[in-house]
């Protein structure tokens, strides 16, 4: 979007990352760079290791080799600058908590384990909810939310972390159109203000519209670069192979 951003530093650098479940490889020495101030997508077929790469970079699952650097530093030194948004389906939404309770979990790092939540923190959490148009439901039990609303709460929690880099695992999976629009507008705004977003994405038809950079993955790296250069028919065919049939008409429209 901005020319001067292209040569800015990397928000996330992944080097030679291999992950295996037992001796079944999920990622095979993947190198990738996600630049600061850009919207990046991670795409690839099911089982390509997209979520695995995000999780391994965040140290949630162990990598057998390779490293991830955040703003040029290991995660331990940059944790406060990174917010991770897990898949919506990974938690039990019947948990006894309200919308604002969940958002305030995002304050964990800034508050530490012991400091109490004060009025200013509460207002800040409400602001974050306002950004995703959820402030009116702040005191709602989370189990009563729709899928899209749940995703918005997760995004608000990430906003509360005041991070420079947002790592999102399938943020648009199973959400309504309005939510998708809200989230993408918000992310674009954050990126325009200098933030960085990396999202695992499964809908090839929206890659060009939503993202500036892309990593195409299928266990190994297929391509990594600007959408214009890397998101090509050839690369996608290499990643998706025979599974591209449903994606092909979409490609002809967008590429």
């Amino acid at each position: 979007m901005n020319v001067h951003n292209t040569d800015a530093g990397a928000a996330l650098t992944v080097r030679g990352m291999s992950v295996a479940y037992g001796d079944k490889p999920a990622l095979s020495s993947v190198d990738a760079i996600f630049k600061q101030g850009r919207m990046s997508a991670v795409v690839g077929p099911n089982g390509a290791g997209k979520s695995t790469m995000l999780k391994a970079a965040m140290g949630i699952i162990p990598a057998i080799s390779g490293e991830a650097l955040f703003f040029g530093r290991p995660l331990a030194e940059a944790r406060s600058r990174v917010a991770y948004v897990p898949q919506r389906a990974s938690v039990d939404w019947d948990f006894p908590a309200t919308v604002i309770d969940v958002v305030m979990m995002g304050l964990y790092r800034s508050l530490g384990p012991f400091r109490l939540i004060g009025r200013s923190q509460r207002e800040f959490a409400l602001d974050c909810l306002e950004d995703v148009d959820m402030a009116s439901l702040a005191n709602r039990q989370i189990g009563q939310l729709s899928g899209g609303q749940q995703q918005r709460v997760f995004i608000a929690r990430a906003l509360a972390q005041k991070a420079d880099l947002l790592m999102l695992d399938e943020p648009f999976a199973g959400v309504d159109a309005a939510t998708e629009k809200t989230i993408i507008t918000l992310l674009k705004k954050l990126v325009a203000e200098g933030g960085t977003a990396v999202a695992v994405h499964h809908d090839l038809s929206t890659v060009t519209a939503y993202f500036e950079d892309v990593l195409i993955l299928n266990v190994r790296r297929i391509a990594n670069g600007t959408v214009a250069k890397a998101f090509t028919d050839a690369n996608l065919a290499e990643a998706y192979g025979g599974r591209l049939t449903q994606a092909t008409p979409v490609l002809q429209k967008t590429v």
Partner: protein, 305 residues
């Protein structure tokens, strides 16, 4: 106040209440983490721990017994985790393997060792003997202020009070970590919450409480109180703090009503039976859960089953 009443009723009831409340507090998190049966598993392996401690020390003194039981409980938690990861089996099956194997080992060791002259058997391990934890020096209300009389209080009372304090301290100091890592462990991990440590601390505390309670009231109360009050409370509300308060209330009611029903209640219906207070307390907690499952406001859950 009647001295007999204090010594024979109030003190054992208080012991029951302390055990019940400690268990119920932790139980909330076990239920939310879908680890309810950890309490079951941990309570079962207390037996081999005690037997091994007895074999090593040759005495039934409390210190080594508690230590052995706590070690066994932690070992079992570790083994369960190991079997789960190595065998890639569901947690339930892993628990089933570990606790039955260790319990069987405990029974065989008990049969093989010479424990005949000490009073100890499996039944005692299972349902304790709450009724015997009386305070004979408590002759009247004023004995509550006499040091000699207080020294004669059942030592279980002090130990359980200490356990309860430890539980409350844990919940207060680790509240935020506990809640975040229970609701969303993946996010918690990414945000730098020591997820594994919190999980291990929770299970360790369950073990400590199970062991302390076990010695006083037997395994059955421990299992029931770790699960039933928290499960019933879950059906009452959609908020965590109220849920915890409800669970404490239910634990309290179970202990008091259960103990009363086992003793005075039996006399009241004119039967001369003396029945197990521990069993009765567990049964009452189950009845409370049953009532909640039929009529509690949030029994269906927000997801609307």
């Amino acid at each position: 106040m009647d001295g007999l009443y204090i010594g024979l009723v109030l003190v054992p009831t208080l012991i029951g209440v302390l055990a019940a409340v400690s268990c119920a507090l932790l139980g909330n998190f076990l239920v939310l983490r879908k680890q309810s049966l950890m309490g079951d598993a941990v309570s079962h392996v207390v037996l081999p721990g005690i037997v091994v401690a007895f074999i090593f020390t040759g005495s039934m003194s409390v210190g080594p017994m508690l230590l052995g039981a706590a070690a066994a409980a932690l070992l079992s938690a570790l083994l369960i985790e190991l079997v789960r990861n190595l065998g890639k089996v569901e947690p339930g099956a892993a628990m089933g393997v570990v606790f039955t194997a260790l319990f069987a080992l405990g029974v065989v060791l008990l049969e093989q060792s010479d424990t005949r002259d000490v009073h100890f058997d499996v039944e005692h391990a299972l349902y304790g003997n709450l009724e015997s934890l009386v305070w004979l020096a408590g002759m009247d209300a004023s004995s509550m202020f006499e040091p000699e009389a207080l020294a004669d209080l059942p030592p279980q009372l002090g130990r359980l009070a200490l356990a309860l304090v430890a539980v409350i301290a844990f919940l207060v100091f680790f509240w935020r970590q506990l809640v975040v890592s229970t609701f969303d462990p993946v996010f918690a991990h990414a945000a730098g919450v020591p997820v594994r440590f919190v999980g291990a601390a929770l299970i360790s505390l369950v073990a400590v409480v199970a062991v302390t309670a076990f010695e006083a009231v037997g395994a059955i109360i421990t299992i029931a109180m770790l699960i039933c009050p928290a499960a019933a409370a879950r059906l009452m509300t959609n908020r965590l703090l109220p849920q915890i308060l409800w669970s404490v209330f239910f634990a309290l009611v179970s202990a008091v009503v259960g103990f009363w029903a086992a003793g005075s209640g039996m006399e009241l219906i004119g039967s001369g039976f003396s029945v197990s207070a521990a069993g009765m307390i567990a049964a009452v907690s189950g009845a409370i859960l049953g009532l909640c499952a039929v009529a509690a406001p949030q029994r269906k859950g927000a997801l609307g089953h």
